[in-house]
């Protein structure tokens, strides 16, 4: 033991356990397979443990762990080259049902379509949309520019919208309003003519 008592008491590695549920969720969004996700989490823990000296105390440990996790994922994928096709996004999943009347989607459909997105969009959406990372935090985690994260989130949203055949409530409202404006204008002019 070359650590003194104070260091041992504040070993940041003791914090890893608190991030396991989030790490599993993030890993699952990348691997799309429960077993592969847990293997990825396992590799991440080992790497984090051995490289803890590279973690600056007081900074965001979750982001640090996620960076290791995704780097491990992409480096494994490069090695295996199994998922090359994923980059372009595969075929739309077969939807089990159409969106409901109000345009809302079933969670199962959403998940099916989400897994078809390219991994870069999945991770950006997961970090920003589900876990509440700021664009800046997500950019740091993924080691890319903030603009890149924004564009991945936007492209991901757009793709989900297309694949799910969703309709934006507010756009509809807007359309209704413009339609009404045209109708009203027509009525007014007709009235004027009459």
């Amino acid at each position: 033991m070359n650590r003194n008592a104070a260091d041992a008491a504040s070993d940041p590695r003791d914090e890893i356990v608190d991030h396991l549920p989030a790490m599993r969720a993030f890993a699952l969004s990348l691997t799309r397979n429960g077993t592969a996700a847990d293997d990825l989490v396992q590799d991440t823990i080992v790497k984090a443990w051995k490289n803890i000296d590279k973690f600056s105390a007081g900074t965001n440990m979750r982001a640090w762990l996620f960076t290791i996790l995704r780097n491990t994922f992409y480096s494994d994928r490069r090695k295996s080259k199994r998922e090359v096709a994923d980059v372009d996004g595969a075929m739309a999943a077969t939807l089990s049902q159409k969106p409901d009347h109000d345009g809302r989607m079933a969670l199962a459909d959403f998940e099916a379509v989400f897994t078809e997105l390219p991994s870069e969009q999945r991770e950006a959406l997961m970090l920003v949309g589900a876990m509440g990372f700021s664009y800046e935090e997500a950019a740091e985690t993924c080691e890319v520019a903030v603009g890149t994260i924004k564009s991945r989130v936007n492209r991901g949203r757009l793709r989900l919208t297309e694949l799910l055949g969703l309709v934006d409530d507010e756009e509809l409202e807007l359309t209704d309003k413009s339609t009404m404006a045209v109708v009203n204008a027509t009525l007014t002019s007709k009235r004027h003519i009459a």
Binding site: P21, S29, Q42, I45, W49, F110, F114, G129, E170
Partner: protein, 48 residues
């Protein structure tokens, strides 16, 4: 709250679903293998 208001309905729907997908996994029990692994790593360090 202001930001919420400016979000389109669609964005909100997508976010809600992303959160559901996320919540589903974080509510699962973490497998024992991770506690085991952390214990092993700690023990390895102690014997160094």
């Amino acid at each position: 709250m202001e930001r919420e208001k400016t979000k389109s309905g669609l964005e909100r729907q997508i976010e809600e679903n992303l959160k559901k997908v996320y919540k589903k996994t974080i509510e699962e029990d973490v497998p024992d293998r991770f506690a085991e692994l952390l214990k092993q790593l700690k023990e390895q360090d102690a014997t160094k």
